[in-house]
C-alpha cells in the first residue's frame, strides 16, 4: 500500500525533504550517527580526554611495561610502558583522518569515472568500465601493501594510496545509478525542452545519484579505516602518528601474547570495531531509507481468517441453472499494518456456476486483486480474511488448514497470472515448471507420460513442443502468457481465476489470448473469474459482471444489463468514460476526483465524493446491496425500492 501523504494547504511553503527527520526515524542509522559522533568528539578533544602526553616518555620506568588496567592506567600500559588509554584516544584521530581523506579521494575519482561512463555511454563507457573491471580484479590490499612498502609509510602516502585504489566500487555504483536515472523519462523530457548536457547532469542526474553516493561513501570510509589498520598491523604505519593498528602491531609482535597482556590486544581492536560498526550501521540504515524493501514476502505466514459478523442469508447470483462451483459469501478482507486496519474488501458475494465467466471490473485500488487473492488465500502477509466464506465443493477455503488448501490449489482452482510480470521463474525451463505442478498434485504420474502431457498442454495453447525446454526469457510476451495458461490447465482445474492476463500485451496478441481462453473454456467446461479493468474485454467475453468500487460491490448483473441498463451511478459514469471505437465522434467524460484510499474511506457511500447525483444521505449512510432483479444487484440509495 502507498504511504498516504497529507494534502498541503494552499500556498504552503515548499516541503523540502527533511533529511534529518527521515534519518532519525531509522533507528539503525541513528545509532550509527551517535556512535560516529562519539568518535569525532573523542578525536577532536583528544588532549582534554587523554590523561598523558603520548609523545613524552617522562617518568616511565621498566616496571611500567605491560601493566594491567589500574587507577593510574585505566586500560593498562603497553610494551614501552605508555598509557594505552592515551594512545587509544589519539589513535581515533588517525583513523578518522585516513578514513575521511582517503575516501574523499576515492569518491571523487569513482564518482567522476562512474558519471562519465554512465552519462556518455558507448566507447567512453566501454573503456572506463573495462579499466574499472581490471582494477576491481587486482587485489587492492596487496597492491597497497606493495606500494606503501616501496614508498615511505607516511600518513600522507597511506591516505593517498588507499584513496587511489578504493574507487572501483564507487565507480560501478555511480555508473549503474547514472544509467538508471538517465533512462528515466524525465531526462528525455529535459532533452525535449532543449536542455543541454550540463544542465541535465546538474539538475536531473546528480540529485538522484548523490544519495547513493553518500551511502557508498560511508562504506568506503569504513573500508579505508580497515585498510589503514591492516597496513599498520602489518608494520606499515607512520612512526610519528599513533594508530590503533600500530598499537596492535607493537603489542602482537612484542610479546603481549606471551605475557598475557590482553588489554594491549583487545583495546585497540575495540576502537576499530566501534568506528567500523558505526559506519556500517549508518550505511545500512541509509540504504534501508533509500531502497525501502517490501514489508513482506510471499512465504511469510498469513494472518488467520475470522468471522467478524453474524451469518447473513446467502446471496444468490447468476441465471445459470448449472450447479454453483465457487460460492463467495460476504467476503471481507483487511490489511493490517502498524496496528492500523484498512478495509480492502467489504462484504462481497457472488456465485460462480459451472461453465460461467464472470468479469470482475474496477479501477486500480478498487479491491479486485485483493478479492481474487483472498479466494485461495494468496494474500500478502498483512492481509486477513475478516469475514465471509469461500465455498468450493462444500469446503470453506477461508477455514482450511494450509495443507488442505495446498492440495486444492491448482488442482481445483488455478490462477492465470499476468505473464508480463515475473510469473515464471527465469532460471527454470517452462516445461520444467509445468511438470512441477503436475507432479505436486499427481505424485505418481508416470514419468514417461509426463513429457508427453507437457507437450500436449503446450500444444493446446499453440506452443510447439520444441519450446518446452526453453527458458522464459526466450519466449515473447504472448508466448509467456500462453505458457502460463498451459500451466494453469495442467492439473485439470474446474475454476480458473485470470488476473489481468492481457494487460501488458498489444491488442492483436490480446485478441489471440482472449480467443484462446474463450475456446479452452468452452472445450473444457471451465468456470472463469476474469479480473480486468477493461470494459471492452468484459463486454466481449463475460456472462456476468461484478463492478467493484472502493472495496465493495457497486453493481452485479448479467453483461447485457450492465452495459444497457446500469443502475449504479458509478457504472453509468464509468461507461461514459470508456472509449468506443464504433462511436468515434462521441466525446468522453471523466469522473472527477480519484478513488478513495483504503485507509481513509469516506463515511457513508464510498462513491459519494465523486458521484454526480449524490445527496445528503449518501455522505452519512452506506447503502445496502439492493436486489433489482433476479440477477441484478446494486448498492446505491437511489435504487432503493
Amino acid at each position: 500500500m502507498n504511504v498516504q501523504l497529507t494534502e498541503s494547504s494552499p500556498a504552503a511553503p515548499v516541503q523540502r525533504v527533511n533529511y534529518w527527520k527521515i534519518v532519525s526515524r531509522n533507528r539503525v542509522a541513528l545509532l550509527g550517527i551517535l556512535m560516529i559522533a562519539v568518535a569525532v568528539i573523542v578525536a577532536l578533544f583528544a588532549p582534554l580526554i587523554a590523561r598523558y602526553d603520548p609523545k613524552s616518555s617522562e617518568g616511565i620506568s621498566s616496571s611500567d611495561v605491560y601493566n594491567p588496567p589500574s587507577a593510574k592506567h585505566w586500560l593498562g600500559t603497553d610494551d614501552v610502558g605508555k598509557d594505552i588509554f592515551t594512545n587509544f584516544v589519539y589513535g581515533t584521530r588517525v583513523s578518522l583522518i585516513v578514513g575521511f581523506f582517503a575516501s574523499f579521494i576515492s569518491i571523487v575519482i569513482g564518482g567522476i569515472i562512474g558519471l562519465m561512463a554512465g552519462f556518455y555511454g558507448g566507447r567512453v563507457e566501454n573503456f572506463l568500465m573495462r579499466f574499472t573491471d581490471i582494477m576491481l580484479v587486482i587485489p587492492d590490499l596487496p597492491l597497497i601493501v606493495v606500494i606503501v612498502a616501496l614508498t615511505k609509510a607516511s600518513l600522507m602516502n597511506i591516505i593517498f594510496v588507499i584513496g587511489i585504489f578504493g574507487w572501483t566500487t564507487t565507480a560501478r555504483i555511480v555508473r549503474s545509478q547514472t544509467l538508471a536515472v538517465k533512462s528515466r523519462k524525465f531526462v528525455l523530457r529535459a532533452k525535449a525542452i532543449g536542455a543541454g548536457n550540463w544542465h541535465i547532469v546538474i539538475h536531473h542526474i546528480l540529485p538522484l545519484v548523490l544519495p547513493i553516493m553518500v551511502v557508498n561513501a560511508i562504506l568506503v570510509v569504513s573500508s579505508a579505516i580497515l585498510s589503514e589498520s591492516t597496513l599498520a598491523f602489518i608494520g606499515l604505519s607512520d612512526p610519528t602518528a599513533i594508530s590503533w593498528g600500530q598499537m596492535l602491531n607493537f603489542a602482537f609482535s612484542r610479546g603481549a601474547m606471551s605475557v598475557g597482556a590482553w588489554w594491549a590486544l583487545v583495546v585497540p581492536g575495540f576502537g576499530i570495531v566501534w568506528i567500523v560498526l558505526a559506519l556500517t550501521l549508518l550505511g545500512n540504515g541509509l540504504e534501508q531509507i533509500l531502497n525501502p524493501r517490501l514489508e513482506s514476502h510471499h512465504l511469510m505466514p498469513g494472518r488467520p481468517s475470522f468471522q467478524s459478523e453474524a451469518e447473513a442469508a446467502p446471496v444468490k447470483t447468476g441465471k445459470s441453472t448449472a450447479p454453483v462451483l465457487l460460492d463467495v459469501q460476504n467476503l471481507s478482507v483487511n490489511y493490517v499494518s502498524d496496528g492500523k486496519v484498512a478495509q480492502a474488501v467489504r462484504n462481497v458475494s457472488f456465485q460462480l456456476h459451472e461453465g460461467e465467466l464472470i468479469g470482475l471490473v474496477g479501477e486500480s485500488g478498487c479491491g479486485k486483486t485483493t478479492l481474487m487473492m483472498a479466494l485461495t488465500r494468496l494474500l500478502p502477509a498483512a492481509g486477513e480474511i475478516s469475514n465471509g466464506h469461500v465455498i468450493f465443493h462444500g469446503k470453506d477455503l477461508a477455514a482450511l488448514t494450509d495443507e488442505e488448501l495446498s492440495n486444492l490449489r491448482w488442482s481445483g482452482i488455478s490462477v492465470v497470472f499476468q505473464g508480463a510480470m515475473n510469473a515464471l521463474n527465469p532460471v527454470r525451463t517452462v516445461g520444467d515448471q509445468i511438470e512441477e505442478a503436475i507432479l505436486k498434485h499427481i505424485p505418481h504420474f508416470p514419468p514417461k507420460a509426463l513429457s508427453a502431457r507437457v507437450e500436449e498442454l503446450l500444444d493446446l495453447v499453440g506452443i510447439s513442443a520444441e519450446h518446452k525446454n526453453h527458458f522464459p526469457h526466450q519466449y515473447s510476451g504472448g508466448m509467456r502468457q500462453r505458457a502460463i495458461i498451459a500451466m494453469a490447465l495442467s492439473c485439470n482445474p474446474q475454476v480458473v481465476i485470470a488476473d489481468e492476463p492481457t494487460t501488458a500485451l498489444d491488442v492483436m496478441i490480446q485478441a489471440q489470448i482472449l480467443e484462446l481462453l474463450d475456446e479452452l473454456r468452452k472445450k473444457l467446461g471451465l468456470a472463469v473469474l476474469f479480473v480486468t479493468h477493461d470494459l471492452g474485454i468484459v463486454a466481449e467475453m463475460c456472462d456476468s459482471v461484478l463492478v467493484m468500487y472502493g472495496g465493495v460491490t457497486a453493481e452485479y448483473a448479467d453483461v447485457d444489463t450492465i452495459y444497457n441498463a446500469p443502475r449504479h451511478p458509478y457504472t453509468q459514469e464509468l461507461l461514459k468514460a470508456f472509449p468506443d471505437l464504433t462511436k468515434p465522434e462521441r466525446r468522453l467524460t471523466s469522473i472527477p476526483g480519484s478513488p478513495p484510499k483504503l485507509d481513509a474511506l469516506p463515511p457513508g457511500c464510498r462513491f459519494a465524493p465523486r458521484c454526480p447525483v449524490a445527496f445528503e444521505r449518501c455522505s452519512k449512510e452506506a447503502p445496502a446491496l439492493h436486489r433489482l432483479g433476479e440477477n441484478h444487484l446494486a448498492s446505491c440509495h437511489l435504487v432503493e425500492a
Binding site: K185, G536, D560, P584, L588
Partner: protein, 330 residues
C-alpha cells in the same frame, strides 16, 4: 508562414544497430525502426498515429523532435529543413515542438517542485525578463492546464499529486514554451479509465484555443476519435494506411488496419463483432519479409505480395493505403 504545412516528413528512416556494439563483435544487422515515412501535417491539424508496439511510432516521434538522429530522409518544419541541426539550432527548434510523455509517474523529476518543473523550460531558453515574469508565466501555464489555483501546486512535489494532476503538470511545462507542434505519446494509457477523458479533453481544448498542431500517438483510437482530423496506421516502421478519421474507421482498406481495428474491444455486448485475429506476432524489424512486409500474416495475400513492396496508393484525395490489392482501386 513560409509553408502550407507545419511539418513535412519525406522518406524518413531511422535504423539502429542490432545487438550490442562491442569492440570485438560487430554484426551489420540493423533494426528498421522507422523505414521510409512520408507525412504532411497542416497548421492546426491533429493526426493520430496508431500501431502495435514495435511499429516505430515512438521512434518516429523521437526522431521528429531531434532526440534521435535520422538515418535518412528529411524533416521540414515550417518549410525549413531541421533534419540535421547543430546543437544551438536544435535547441531553438525544440521551443516550437514539445512532447507529452506516456508515463506521468516517470516523466517528472521527483526531486523538483512543480514550480521548478514548469519554469525549467523558460530558464533553459532564457524566456522572461526576470523571476517574477517567469513565475507569472508558470502560473498561467498551470492554470491553463486546469491546475487552479496555481499557488496550491507550485511548492508541491510530483509524488504529492495524482496521476491525472501529474500529466497536467507535464502538459503545463510543455505549453510554457508556447509550441506550435505538440507530440503526445500515449498520454493517457497509464491513467485510470475514469480520468482519461479529462486529459484528452484538456488537450483538445488547448489545441483549439491555441491552434497548435498535434501528433497523437495511441493504441486506442476511441479516445481521440472526436478530435483527431486524420489517422495514420503504422506497421513495421511504415505507414500502411492514412486518411481522415471517418475514412479510416468506417471505410478501412488495408488488411492490417482492418484486423487491428477489429480486435480493439468495444464496450457493447450486443455487438460481438467478427474479429480478424492475425496469427503469430509482428516479425522482428531486423529481418524484414520480402515484398510487402505484411504479407506473411496477411489473410488476403497473393503471390505478387511476396515480391513487390507496395507504396501508398491514393484511394481518394485524402485517403491512402499501401496494399497491392488496392492498386487499381476506383
Amino acid at each position: 508562414m513560409t509553408s502550407e504545412f507545419i511539418l513535412e516528413v519525406k522518406g524518413l528512416k531511422k535504423y539502429f544497430q542490432a545487438g550490442s556494439s562491442g569492440w570485438f563483435s560487430k554484426n551489420g544487422k540493423q533494426v528498421h525502426a522507422v523505414d521510409d515515412i512520408h507525412l504532411q501535417l497542416k497548421h492546426g491539424e491533429v493526426i493520430a498515429l496508431v500501431g502495435e508496439s514495435g511499429c516505430g511510432k515512438s521512434t518516429l516521434a523521437l526522431t521528429l523532435l531531434g532526440l534521435e538522429e535520422a538515418t535518412a530522409g528529411q524533416i521540414l518544419f515550417n518549410g525549413q529543413d531541421v533534419t540535421h541541426l547543430a546543437d544551438k539550432e536544435k535547441k531553438e527548434m525544440r521551443r516550437k515542438i514539445q512532447m507529452v510523455f506516456q508515463d506521468p509517474y516517470e516523466s517528472l523529476n521527483p526531486t523538483q517542485t512543480i514550480q521548478e518543473i514548469v519554469v525549467e523550460p523558460l530558464v533553459v531558453h532564457g524566456i522572461g525578463a526576470n523571476e517574477t515574469e517567469r513565475l507569472e508565466r508558470t502560473k498561467k501555464a498551470l492554470e491553463d492546464s486546469g491546475l487552479k489555483p496555481a499557488e496550491t501546486y507550485l511548492n508541491r512535489f510530483p509524488h504529492q499529486l495524482s496521476g491525472g494532476q501529474r500529466q497536467r503538470v507535464v502538459i503545463a511545462s510543455a505549453l510554457a514554451l508556447e509550441p506550435q507542434l505538440l507530440v503526445a505519446d500515449e498520454p493517457v494509457s497509464m491513467l485510470d479509465v475514469s480520468i482519461r477523458a479529462e486529459i484528452i479533453n484538456l488537450l483538445a481544448e488547448l489545441q483549439k484555443t491555441r491552434g497548435i498542431s498535434v501528433i497523437f500517438i495511441t493504441h486506442d483510437l476511441g479516445t481521440v476519435g472526436f478530435f483527431a482530423d486524420r489517422v495514420a496506421v503504422m506497421y513495421l516502421g511504415r505507414i500502411v494506411e492514412i486518411g481522415g478519421m471517418n475514412d479510416v474507421l468506417k471505410n478501412t482498406k488495408h488488411p492490417y488496419s482492418q484486423a487491428l481495428l477489429s480486435v480493439i474491444p468495444v464496450p457493447n455486448p450486443r455487438l460481438r463483432r467478427k474479429r480478424i485475429i492475425l496469427q503469430g506476432e509482428t516479425p522482428n524489424p531486423v529481418n524484414l519479409p520480402s515484398g510487402c512486409r505484411f504479407h506473411p500474416r496477411c489473410p488476403i495475400a497473393e503471390e505478387k505480395c511476396k515480391q513487390q513492396d507496395p507504396h501508398l496508393f491514393n484511394l481518394n484525395a485524402t485517403h491512402q493505403a499501401a496494399c497491392l490489392l488496392l492498386e487499381n482501386y476506383q
